[in-house]
Symmetry: C2
Subunit: 345 residues, 2 copies
């Protein structure tokens, strides 16, 4: 498998488009995941890398087991994302970043490509696995998006696991908030600066895309948002069409990155629309949005509009596009072959 | 003008597509608005109709005056929507419907077609003109979507007009909530019925689309959501790509209707995508989404997926599509000709 991968990558390099960042399409994938974008220049400490890899591999194996039992792709997406939410290594569930209010506010969404039904929650502070709350909204409510206390009350009523807000607190994220506040203090103040400042964010949003034996596609995304975001800010992760989209016969998509730009460019729906109406491949569509449209967006700072999309097409072809040094991503094929990539490794 | 209108409509009837509901494209429009969908079989009381017409005409004239001064289309969108928010006749600002919690929760969004910047707020209870808060989020924050108390604090800090939540309360909306609660009590209970029930909603969302002398497009939408919605439910109005979208060189769109379906179908972005990638007109794209895709969506009740879109294309062509008996809509042309239509009149 690894030889095959290298071979494809080299051939891509040869046609001269390797300067942009993407992974060539891998066939026969049943589940793909991401754990956000990262800095390639900041080598991950070996113990960090080991723990991230372990969580991502477990997420892939759990999702694969679900699919092997003949269960729907929605179940695989939830199974995979739950593992990543439970790991403190990612900015989702436990390990979420802090708002400028010192709280952890969690967002998640899920979409069923078969019915185009969807569910999402934003700004919850007490639901252990936000992705399960998103699914409950889809299946047990008449709504698509619930926020804050309304979402929490609904989740509780549905019997989902409720935890104390302190469950989500991790020391490394708390430290990140303090560093961010300190750094912003030292920036030159401008009128309205408190809201104008664009700061580099710790990403780590997680997502999954899956296809089941019946060809049904599903996608899901879960996040704690941006460090030092205004409380009650909603990014792209809970927005259907921005962070998450799935449509049978086309593709399932999960995004991560600077959420505001992903909302404005309706990134996940744009990928589906290009595939449907322009007739391009998943890779061409994702590469266009992530590596051309977003970088050409009006930039207030050099690292605006950064991010990535993972795409699983109707045939099980898995691809990614990212305009940032690294994307933590992985996939598992039908026969159980796993590959997890952190940075370029 | 009115003869021209009838002439176009008849020619459309002749080609046999009048069974679906849309308005043929009107040229030279600089501002189009809607005040939601309605029941054609429920004749509006003359005094209601008079007041609605007066508000819609004032909205159009105020927006037109702004454009005539050479100001950007964003200003015209805000000027028009403020009039409709201030009128108790529409489900936006004063006159908003009630949640099942007995509160008025307001949502709004705005998008600038020139920069593709956008702003939105959801679930605010104290900002007099939600559309101005959406604009402030776009221009004065690093975020696109703020909700609840976070949005309210931000609006206050920006010096926007803050009112007591009771300002939004109107007797006719309160009565509507009581009737809805009574009606739902009498429906047969099913497991999870409290969240499964789909009830016919009082619409009345407002929106505006405009083009200025420089060809810049803008769109905005404002709403109180659905009567008896779960509190903290977010519909399509504050979702960029669902209720609102604008892209220079393509079109500006504002939607109204059963928001959950508009999110799932990313209606406003879908219209833009079809125009860009499929090469169809605004009317063809809007008609496809509103009159074909949405009605074919999985329906749990006959009036699921109902709604409308108003579209202003890059050349000032204004069109609407609606899959419900009536759409309250109007436009004003460059030379100041106004037309407002309630039901088929």
């Amino acid at each position: 498998m690894s030889r095959f991968w290298i071979c494809v990558f080299m051939s891509t390099t040869a046609v001269g488009i390797a300067a942009e960042r993407f992974d060539p399409t891998v066939p026969d994938v049943v589940l793909g995941i991401h754990g956000g974008i990262g800095d390639a220049d900041q080598e991950l400490a070996p113990e960090v890398e080991k723990e991230m890899r372990a969580a991502m591999e477990l997420a892939l194996r759990n999702g694969h087991a679900v699919l092997k039992e003949g269960k729907p792709s929605l179940d695989a997406v939830v199974a995979a994302i739950k593992v990543l939410e439970d790991s403190p290594m990612f900015n989702a569930g436990r390990g979420a970043v802090f708002t400028n209010n010192g709280t952890n506010e969690l967002d998640a969404s899920i979409m069923d490509g078969k019915t185009k039904q969807a569910g999402a929650i934003a700004g919850v502070m007490t639901v252990k696995n936000p992705i399960t709350a998103a699914r409950a909204v889809m299946e047990k409510s008449k709504h698509v998006l619930l926020t804050g206390r309304g979402a929490e009350q609904f989740a509780k009523l549905q019997g989902l696991e409720i935890v104390d807000p302190s469950y989500f607190r991790t020391e490394h994220r708390w430290k990140a908030l303090q560093e961010r506040i300190e750094k912003e203090k030292n920036q030159p103040a401008a009128p309205g600066a408190a809201f104008q400042r664009l700061t580099k964010v710790e990403y780590g949003t997680v997502g999954a895309v899956a296809i089941d034996h019946a060809g049904n596609l599903a996608a899901g995304t879960s996040t704690g948002g941006m460090t030092n975001k205004m409380f009650n800010r909603v990014g792209d992760s809970p927005i259907i069409g921005a962070g998450t989209y799935a449509e049978n016969g086309v593709a399932a998509i999960s995004c991560t990155g600077h959420g505001e730009f992903f909302i404005r460019y309706a990134v996940s729906h744009e990928i589906v629309a290009q595939m449907k109406y322009k007739g391009v491949t998943a890779l061409e569509a994702a590469d266009d949005v992530i590596n051309k449209q977003l970088p050409s967006a009006f930039k207030r700072k050099p690292d605006d509009a950064e991010g990535a999309a993972i795409v699983l097409d109707k045939n099980g072809g898995f691809t990614t596009a990212y305009n940032y040094p690294a994307l933590y991503r992985g996939y598992i094929t039908k026969d159980g072959t796993i590959r997890v990539r952190l940075n370029q490794k």
